[in-house]
Structures are given as C-alpha cells and as structure tokens.
C-alpha cells in the first residue's frame, strides 16, 4: 500500500514532536529494568565461572570446594548440562556456510576468554561470587588465533569440529563488466581499511531472571533482550519445552544496539535452572563480564578499489572483505550476517553500475561478534567515502564536487543498484547540498585556503553520503538464509469499553520511544488523544508473535503493523458509528475522540459510545455484519526494503601538540521517509552519531597476543562523554516510501554509518599537509601524532594548503 500524503491532517498525531510517554517513570526512578524487578522470595543468584584461556581443552573442573561454600545451592559444569540443554546452532542454509555448535557451558574445549565453564547458584550475588572463585578449572592450552590472518594461515588450528577451516562463511559476486571498467578506467584508488573490535556497552548490562511455576510446568523469563519471541522459541527448542508454557518478557531495557540481539547461553541456563531447582533464578551481568561476553562487533578488513573516469565519474568498485566474527556465530543471525551485509552495503548512495566482491566470515578465539549498530555499513562507508576523497584530491576535484557528480539524483529513481537493492525514493543530492550549506562548506574552504592552522589548531572538514537499509522484511532474511529471524512483526490494537485504546506490539523498546511513536500512529488513525492510547511491548504473553527490535526496523515493521491494525479498528468504528448515526461509514472522520460526518460537527458520536456499542453496553446494536469487540491484529512485512538516506558534514580541530581531536561542528541532513516523531528521530540521529564518534576516536576492544581481553573495564574501554561530543544539527527531509505502510523508513543506524567517514575525512582533511592516509581506526591521539609524523608542533606555522 502506497502511503497517501494527504491522509494526515492538522489534527493528526503522526509527525508531531511530542515528548515521550515513557519518560515520566524513568525520570522518577520508577523504571523497571531487569535488576529492578522485585525478586520473588527464595530467588537464587547465578554467577558464571569464565574461561581464563582463549583456546584450551578443559581437562577438569573441580567444583568440590565451591559446592561446600556458604550459601551455595548448586554448581553445574558443562558436562552436567550437556544433554540437558542442546547446543546453540545458527544453521544458515546458504552456499559457503559452515554451521557450528556452541554448548551453553563449555564441555571439553573453550574458545574465548570469558566463555562460561561452570555456573554457581547461591543465595545472593556476593556469596555466589565468593564460591565462583573456588571453582578450579584445569586447562590444556591450545594455540589461540586472534585475527583473520592467524585464523586462515597454513598452520591455523581448526577451531570447530566438523568444519573444513575457520572460514565459516564466504560468498562472492560480480557484475558482468566490472573487469572491463577497471581495465579502461582513467583512475583507480585503492586501499585496505582495518576497523577495530568494539564492545557494544549498552549502559545496562545484560541480565535475566526465570520464575518457574511447577503446577503447570510453565516458566516466565524476564530478560534484557531485543528479541523476546526468538528467545522464547529458542528455549522451547533447546530445552524441549512446550512453547505455550513459556513466557518471555523484556522489561525496561537499558539500550540494546545489537548487543542484546542474540539468544545467549545465560538465558537458556537460567531457564533450565529455575525448573531444575524449582526456584526463581536470577543472573545479572557485571560490566567486566559484559565486556568479555556480550557480542562485540565491527572488526573488519576492507580491501577496496574504486574506478573513476578523469572527470570524477565513479565507474565501479571491487571489494575483498574479511570479518573477524570471534569464537561462535551469534544466534539467530548467524555467521554470515556481517560479511553479507558488508558486501551488500558498499555501493551506498552512488550511481555505480559495476561491482565485484568477495567476502568471508572467519572464526577466531575472541569474544563472539554480532550485529552491533549498523553492523558492517560504517566501515564499508568509511572505505568508499575515504577513497572518494582521495580520488577527488588526485583528480583535482573538491570532495563535494566528486560526490555531486556521483550521488543519486531524483531523475535516477527508482534505482536498482549493482547488488539488486532498489531505492524507490530518496533525497540523496538534496541532503548533501543542505548539509554542506548549513555547515557553510564554501566559507570553511575559503578560510582554510589561507591556513589550516588557526588558533593553534589544525582544522578540517569531511563529509559522507549515507544510505541505510532499514525495515528488512521476511524476504530479505529468507534470501540470506537467516531462517531463525522471521522478519515480520505484529500488532494487536484494541479499543476497550471506555473508548481508550491499547496496542500490543510484538517488538520491544530499548529507548527508541516505541511507546510514544506507536501510540501516535494509533491515536492518529483512531482520532484519539495521546493519553487515550497505551502501547505495551516486549511480552510474549500478549499480542502477536514477532521478530524484535534491531536493524532500524521498528518504525517500518512494527509501525506498519500498528498502522494496519489501527486502520482496521478505525474502519470498524466507522461502520458501527455509521450504523448508529444512520450515515455512510465512508463519510465519517475520526478526530478528537469522536466520529463525525465530514463537513459537519452536528452528526457525531464519541468513540467511547462506539466502544460501548461494540461491547454490548449500549442500547444500540452492532451492524449485522460485525461481531463484538473493537480490535484487530495485523502482521506486517513491507513490500520492499526501504532505504533511508542522509548526508553528514563534520568539522574538526586537532591539537597538533597532543593529537587530540575535537569535533567542533556536526550537521546531518536526514531522510527517513515519513517522520512519526521528529523529536525521537533527532534523538536517534544524535545518539548514533556520538556512538559512532566514540568508536572513531577512543573506543577499542583490545586483546593481547594470547587472546586475553585487556580493556574489560570502563577505565580502559573509553566511551565518549559529554565533553567529547559536539552539538549536532539535524535537518529533515521526508521522501516517503511507497513500499511501506505509512511511508515510513527506518532510523537508528544511519548516524553511525555517516560519522565514521565524515570524521575520518575531516581529520584527513586537516592533515592533508602531512600527506597521510587514514585507513585504520581508532584515531586516538597516538594515531594522530603518528600520522603527522616527525613534524613537531613548533614547525607548524608554515603549514598551508598544498
């Protein structure tokens, strides 16, 4: 259904910058995050004993002393649980894919530091930690492999039984004429870009609590997850449990960003233990454990070449991509999601007909990786946008000019790119121009011509064009073989007898403002006020089955389902009211809590009255064709993947003495189709930009040569604070999607995709006089001074543009 732009009117709720409904309790300290849930009496606390070795055979696990410790109820090892809980396996039916198993507790072999080898259950967390220190594990060390070269070298140990090698997924693709355009191109730019491992660090670490009801063998698991339905299905499958007796609830969740987008061993073990011990069992991840065990991400090597004509026209791209996916593929997304996504993303916002890629996912003895916010797209974008800048310089063009030449224009749309992704609508060129204008790009360049060094700082500006594949539906996951991700979501919208609406949505919110945005959709369609609508998410006991919240899919898919269900309820309201008022339903409008005849306020009734009729609480009867109740359930799957777009412009200054980078100005011109709530959209963009900025400038998950993670506290894993973050201007464009209900496109990841190249390019721009190339992250002060080489601060006075 193509969205109808005229559907909204002044009284509509969609498009308004409304403050959020979820804020009030959170501001009062009344949020209920996983560790805030009142523990039932007798709750036991689990603590996991983590491997200290990156790769080793587990020779023996001695739990005797721990089992005797004060307050300890039970201690389990991998051998105890093998056969009780099936291993986690993301078996993706795709060529080039090798599935591997992950035991929920290591049995005979560990493959990363932090992998759980035993679990201690005690009366409280303090005592459980005391006892966990008493578990002795005897390891026989095996060689560790921490990067993709080690893992694919001739002597590399094979990490998983039943595999040919450590390449768990590989794929390649080429368009017909890619070699021809490279052979005939005037100019080719090429480099290898290495991005570094990141930890997700949602501010609330993971955690879960299971309560077992013996009388009907049922279980409720509260988990800080992005995927309650998938977690439920996994528990059912891996613990052989009747899914109808399982309930998974995501309470208030303190950020996800992909780190809570996997089914984790702890969720399965805690569920198992609650039944086994017939007691509530709770596990809260601490920060060190989080930095060692929550899926990490974005460790890639992109070897990319771009071919250009002399005038700057982009002809084609070639890419070789290696992803270090760590010790185990995550579930449900599997080993191919990063490598596949990396390759698909690369063509970006440009007109480019020819493309070839080879991509691989490689297992190593590091923490498993997963789908960290925007997955591989930021690095793909870093590679192409950096090369675009270098091509511009080498061809004597301005970076803005070369982008103007290649960015998709309205006349190109709809555009199907070299890997078959279709862009129906978008404002690629407009966003670029608006962002450049707002950042006063021309003015900046004019000043810069005189001197890059102003006020003792080096100044630079950088830009990037961004696309974001959002709201991917069932077809995309089927095509990629990711069969454990359904791809659809559902909503059940219900008007209660008091005329107020409740919507159960199959996703769950981790801060994205679903409870407000989806309420706006319901209120908009039903003509209700925001206070009349309640949205409930994250509970498998209510409403339809669904996929979860990740990959910028909330607004498109859950929003679409909510819209569809709301439309059906609105239709029924019209039918009932039409019957009662004796007018044609088609002539009725819903607004301000009433149903009224278009063009007059004389003929109307309140939605509350309609609800009373629907619930047989009114003398008036329902139309014969309608049954009782005022509700509808809709599942939604978009017709095609909607592509959001944006342009980012970053301006930086660099202290030449210390190498410290300051982002002084940041502009994003952003288009996520029809905006439901601009306040929330801006918040998503701000947050994504700063999270990405943090990964460019300071965050780095480091392992030593043997695979020991050595940045497992927030003293060593450096996240941007308010002092590092710039103010950000967000400019909105709205190219509605014809492929989605409501015209919505997704938002949430694009900010990260743009900030890596924009900031890296701005830094490279400031450092042009030093003749350096940026192809590694992070750009810590040590990296900046290394890029500047031997030129000391004292000799900077004479630095001008080349």
């Amino acid at each position: 259904m193509a969205a109808d732009r005229d559907a909204g009117d002044e009284s509509g709720m969609i498009g308004r910058p409304l403050p959020r409904k979820e804020d009030d309790p959170l501001l009062r300290g009344l949020g209920v995050f996983i560790d805030d849930i009142q523990e039932p009496p007798g709750t036991l606390h689990a603590v996991f004993v983590m491997s200290t070795r990156a790769h080793a055979n587990v020779v023996a696990v001695d739990i005797a002393e721990a089992a005797q410790a004060e307050g300890v109820v039970a201690v389990y090892t991998g051998k105890d649980l093998a056969g009780r809980i099936k291993p986690i396996t993301a078996d993706i039916p795709q060529p080039g894919y090798q599935p591997v198993n992950r035991a929920v507790l290591a049995t005979d072999r560990v493959r990363f530091v932090g992998e759980a080898v035993a679990v201690v259950i005690a009366e409280n967390r303090y005592l459980a930690e005391d006892a966990a220190e008493l578990v002795r594990v005897d390891y026989e060390e095996l060689p560790s492999v921490i990067d993709v070269d080690q893992a694919t070298g001739p002597d590399a140990p094979r990490l998983h039984e039943g595999t040919r090698d450590n390449v768990l997924f590989q794929a390649s693709y080429r368009t017909a004429n890619v070699e021809t355009v490279f052979a005939s191109a005037d100019h080719i730019v090429r480099d290898t870009f290495q991005s570094h491992r990141l930890a997700v660090v949602a501010i609330e670490p993971r955690g879960c609590m299971a309560v077992y009801q013996r009388r009907n063998d049922s279980l409720t698991l509260w988990s800080s997850t992005q995927l309650p339905h998938t977690v439920r299905t996994a528990i059912a499958n891996l613990l052989d449990w009747d899914e109808t007796r399982l309930r998974v609830v995501a309470p208030d969740v303190g950020g996800g960003f992909g780190g809570k987008c996997s089914v984790y061993p702890e969720e399965l073990i805690v569920s198992f233990l609650a039944r086994e011990l017939n007691a509530p069992v709770k596990w809260i991840c601490d920060r060190r454990e989080d930095l060692m065990t929550t899926t990490q991400g974005r460790e890639y090597r992109f070897d990319v070449a771009l071919a250009f004509k002399r005038d700057g026209t982009l002809l084609g791209a070639k890419a070789k991509i290696d992803c270090n996916i760590g010790a185990y593929p995550s579930f449900p997304l599997g080993a191919s999601v990063e490598a596949g996504g990396a390759a698909i993303y690369l063509p970006g916002a440009y007109r480019m007909g020819e493309y070839a890629y080879e991509t691989r996912a490689i297992t190593t003895t590091t923490c498993p990786s997963g789908v960290y916010r925007a997955v591989a797209a930021p690095v793909a974008s870093l590679a192409t946008e950096s090369l675009m800048d270098r091509a511009a310089r080498e061809l004597g063009l301005d970076p803005a000019e070369i982008r103007r030449k290649n960015v998709l224009l309205p006349s190109d749309l709809p555009y199907t790119n070299a890997v078959g992704m279709r862009y129906s609508t978008g404002s690629f060129a407009t966003c670029l121009e608006r962002a450049l204008a707002h950042a006063d790009y021309v003015g900046f360049r004019r000043t810069q011509t005189d001197n890059r060094l102003r006020d003792g700082k080096l100044h630079g500006i950088g830009m990037a064009n961004v696309i974001e594949h959002t709201g991917q539906g069932t077809l995309r996951y089927r095509q990629r073989g990711i069969i454990y991700v359904p791809g659809f979501d559902g909503a059940q919208v219900k008007v209660e007898p008091n005329g107020r609406a409740i919507a159960w949505v199959s996703q769950c919110t981790q801060g994205q403002g679903h409870l407000t945005a989806f309420a706006q959709i319901v209120a908009h369609e039903l003509g209700l006020g925001m206070d009349d609508v309640t949205v409930i998410e994250g509970d498998t006991a209510f409403g339809p089955y669904g996929t979860g919240t990740f990959a910028s899919r909330g607004a498109v898919i859950a929003g679409g389902a909510t819209l569809r269900a709301s439309t059906r309820v609105a239709d029924k309201i019209r039918r009932i009211a039409g019957h009662a008022l004796n007018v044609s339903a088609g002539d009725l409008k819903l607004a301000d809590g009433r149903v009224y005849l278009s063009g007059t306020s004389e003929v109307s009734m309140s939605i509350r009255e309609v609800a009373a009729i629907a619930h047989s609480m009114d003398a008036r009867a329902l139309p014969e064709s309608d049954s009782f109740g005022l509700e509808a359930t809709e599942y939604y799957d978009p017709a095609a993947t909607p592509t959001s777009n944006a342009a980012h412009v970053a301006q930086v200054s660099i202290d030449p003495a210390t190498g410290l980078v300051t982002v002084v100005n940041y502009v994003v011109a952003h288009d996520c189709g029809r905006v439901i709530n601009p306040l929330i959209v801006e918040g998503q963009v701000h947050g994504a930009v700063v999270q990405g900025l943090s990964s460019v400038l300071s965050e780095a998950m480091r392992y030593d040569e043997t695979g020991q993670p050595i940045t497992v506290s927030l003293m060593d894993y450096l996240i941007a604070t308010a002092a590092d973050a710039p103010d950000i201007t967000v400019l909105h464009e709205e190219s509605w999607s014809p492929d989605t209900a409501g015209g919505f496109k997704g938002v949430g990841e694009g900010g990260v995709i743009g900030v890596l190249p924009a900031v890296a390019n701005a830094i490279a721009d400031a450092l042009v006089p030093f003749g350096c190339k940026i192809n590694r992250l992070p750009l810590l002060p040590q990296a900046i001074v290394a890029l500047m080489g031997s030129r000391s601060a004292g000799s900077l006075e004479d630095i001008h543009n080349p």
Binding site: R125, D130, A657, T658, L660, S698, T721, A723, P781, Q782
Partner: protein, 291 residues
C-alpha cells in the same frame, strides 16, 4: 563485581587507626574517599581482611595555614580543597589542578590524602605535590615523621609509608609573590585520565626565572622532576627560545613506558609540548591553568 568479605573499623582518632592498622600486619587497608580503592575491591583485585575508614578520625579534614605552610589534612575532600579560599590564596596550583582529578561525584568523595597515598602513576596530585615540594606527614603507632614528596612515591601504588603508617596530612609551602604555576595534561578523551601530565612552579624575579620545579606523571611508575629543563630555565627570561629549549630537554633521561592506553613513543612525543604549554601558561598567568 562484589567485594570479598572484610572487617570494618571506623576509628575516631588517628592513633586508634594506626593501632588497628598495625595489628593487621599489612592485611588491612585504610579507606579514605574510596574512589580508587573501592573499584579494586569490587573487581576483587585486592581482598584485604579489614578496612579502616578514616572519615570519622578527628582532625583529618582540616585546612589551615601555619606560617609559610598550607596544611591539608589527608581526609580533606578534593571538592572542598577546590573551593577553599585558603587553598586558592596559598596554593593556587592545587585549586587549578582539582578539576582534572575527575568529575564532581568523584571529587566530592575523593580525598587529598587518598589520592596521594594510592600513588597511581597517572594521578595528578602527586605531580602537584612534587612540583610544590610538599611534605607528607606520616603517622605510625610510635611516631610521626616527615617524608618529602620526592621520596614519598616509590612506584606503582607504592609509597614510602610503612605498612603500619598512615598519611596524616600534607604540608605545602605557601606561594609567594612572583610564583607562577601551571598544570597541563595530554589525554585520550577530553578531560580523561592523564596519559602524561605536567605540574610546574616557577619563581620569577624581574622577569627572570629564579627557581623552577617541573614535575611529570604518567611517563613511568612515579612522578619525576625534570632537572635538565629546570636547569635550563634558571637565571633566564621566559622568552620563546628559552621555553623551547627547556621543553626540548624535558625528555632527557626518562625511560618512557607503554601501556594499554598509549605507547611510550606517544609519551615521549607529547612531553616537550606539554612542558612548553605549561611554561607559556605560567609565564602569562599567575594562576597557572586557566580552566
């Protein structure tokens, strides 16, 4: 991330505190503000048998000037020192350095003595103490003794305090006319923990440098003075050439160390720039750093 078990004592006097400390023969720790100690407890990196909380010891939170000396009790909170008029008048370098110690909630609890006695290699206060030539007053079961700041810091988390001694107070020489100060640092993030930090005190007379004390932390396990740079300044005017010369001499004799935050090469690279920056600030600003 829960500490292991310990006994807790909250003595009312320092004599009681050191008595308990001595009785544990090195297996007890003194708890001052806790901002460095408690993370180590929570990680179970340290597991003392007892904690002796100094917050109720009489007299440890005093700030006073005695003749030519500013006395800060070891339990003076960092935020209290920061806003103290006496401190600002007597030792403006201390006031100027305080914002670098961490964000407010940390400085509200963190203490002067706690930071000095913890002796982290990237802590800012040890640089200030060394640059100002502070005297540490240690109290043991039998006696009190003075330890000059330069002899106080022995290495990572290690001071000249004996296992039964506590840091009772710190005595800073009160600044006189013509003194100039600066505190500058290089960080990975804005206002982060220091990678390298420089604290300096100059005494100027008619534009010439009569005395120079430059202390650096972060380059190795303990604060260092920079004698070559200092020597180069004494007797000279603080002109650009002298400043540059002193800065260039700053790395002399230092064995720079690498860690997870930055390599030795970065520390070597940045130190001269910091010294230069500190000297320029000191030359232009009687109150050192202008934050």
């Amino acid at each position: 991330m829960k500490p292991s078990r310990f006994e807790y004592f909250s003595p009312a006097s320092t004599s009681e505190a050191v008595e308990i400390l001595a009785s544990y023969q090195g297996r007890a720790r003194l708890l001052a503000g806790g901002q460095s100690l408690v993370p180590l407890l929570n990680f179970r990196i340290i597991t003392p048998e007892a904690l002796i909380d100094l917050s109720r010891c009489r007299g440890l939170d005093e700030i006073r000037s005695e003749g030519s000396v500013l006395v800060l009790g070891s339990m003076v909170r960092q935020s209290t020192a920061e806003t103290s008029e006496i401190v600002r008048t007597c030792c403006p370098l201390i006031t100027a350095t305080m914002p670098f110690l961490g964000p407010s909630p940390i400085r509200n609890r963190g203490t002067i003595g706690g930071s000095l006695a913890h002796a982290d290699r990237v802590a800012e206060l040890p640089a200030v103490a060394v640059a100002l030539g502070a005297i540490m007053i240690a109290e043991g079961p039998k006696r009190r003794r003075e330890i000059p700041a330069r002899e106080f810091f022995l290495g990572d988390l290690t001071t000249a305090l004996a296992s039964e001694e506590m840091l009772r107070e710190v005595r800073f020489p009160i600044s006189s006319d013509g003194e100039r100060f600066a505190f500058v640092e290089a960080t990975n993030r804005h206002h982060d923990l220091a990678l390298v930090a420089v604290a300096l005190k100059l005494v100027l007379n008619a534009g010439r440098c009569e005395q120079a004390a430059i202390a650096v932390v972060g380059v190795g396990p303990k604060p260092l003075r920079l004698p070559a740079s200092e020597g180069c300044l004494v007797g000279k005017r603080l002109d650009a050439a002298t400043v540059l010369a002193a800065a260039q001499l700053s790395t002399e004799g230092i064995e720079f160390e690498s860690d997870v935050h930055t390599p030795a090469s970065y520390r070597r690279h940045v130190l001269p720039s910091l010294v230069e920056r500190a000297l320029r600030q000191a030359a232009s600003n009687a109150h050192g750093n202008d934050r």
